[in-house]
Subunit: 188 residues, 2 copies
Amino acid sequence: MFAAEPYVSKENLLGWANELGLEFKKLAVQKGEVFLKEKQRCQYFYFIEEGFIRLYYLDLQGHEITHWFSGENMMITSPFSFFKEETNILNFEALETTSLLLISREQWKALSEENENSNRAIRRLSMEFSMQLSRRVMSIHTESAEYRYLKLIKNHPLIFQKANLGHIASYLGITQQSLSRIRKRLAH
Amino acid sequence: MFAAEPYVSKENLLGWANELGLEFKKLAVQKGEVFLKEKQRCQYFYFIEEGFIRLYYLDLQGHEITHWFSGENMMITSPFSFFKEETNILNFEALETTSLLLISREQWKALSEENENSNRAIRRLSMEFSMQLSRRVMSIHTESAEYRYLKLIKNHPLIFQKANLGHIASYLGITQQSLSRIRKRLAH
DNA sequence: AATCCTTTTTACCCTAGGGTAAATGCATCC
DNA sequence: GGATGCATTTACCCTAGGGTAAAAAGGATT
């Protein structure tokens, strides 16, 4: 969120659409409206013409966690859901009356899959990159160090043969001493 | 890091390179070697054939913070430095003897800029997306809530007119009460 | 002005994790 | 075996932030 400058201007976007003969849908939402909800498939890449949006998700205790804020000329989507078939866990809430340009999955493809094989690959890389980052942001944002440690053991046990506990601790965002304490606690 | 499956297989990668007549450089690094250092421009998108890598950066107190771990068939780069001209702050350290395939910036371009305008745009979006996420991961990972709050005020003062303190607190990763306490403290 | 509702602040006590420093463990090298 | 060096654990005390609950402060609305 909050790139120093917007990714791409509205003019750019409309220019490209023109060249390709695409027409973007528009969406107007009222203040307070949640226009994309968790478990709904995210069908669009959203460009915010005007207004202000909050993306949030529910943590393990059911609390609303703000994942992102996004304003004029910014773009948002739920990467897992828009790029892949994965379930959307993000809620998109308008914090003020907002107008959006919608780029559908088909249009996105038209824009990006124009031709080359390699292009598809490169884009795939970028997307995966984004999705992993997104996962990691959520993880650091809300999960406890202990929980993240357990997840790491479960999903990537080999890491403990490769990296030392100091590295792992800082990966988890804690000191080595804290990690040591967590390990002791978990050993009953 | 640690996608459930590798982004792209080595075979894919070499296949595309073949089609385009590209040849990737190889790099072999010893255990313990830091083969990309902060302030050095990151010239490659790295594909790990074999081995294990740690990416770390120095926080405000000068502590090494592990940003990422990456192993066989994974890809890494320093997005700010590889995609843009920004200074690299990441150090790439081999935790075991590692062999890498290097995709230079020129090759990356050859792969991705084959033709369309729109493709460039789409890729730009993905890259920006990644870079912002990357920034946010680092921020949540090491900066205190108070520091992040101050940064938010400085960089996006308008947010305080748009979102309420509850939203902002959870964006910062803390409770509304804690934010309130921080605000009180800062008001002297 | 009185009421209702939402947002924000305070207060109390509790817990996770930090900082410093020392102690232990484990390899390696002589 | 002793010495050196790194990784890990423990211990002590401290701080940031959490949980619950209540109080205060703003808006709206009538």
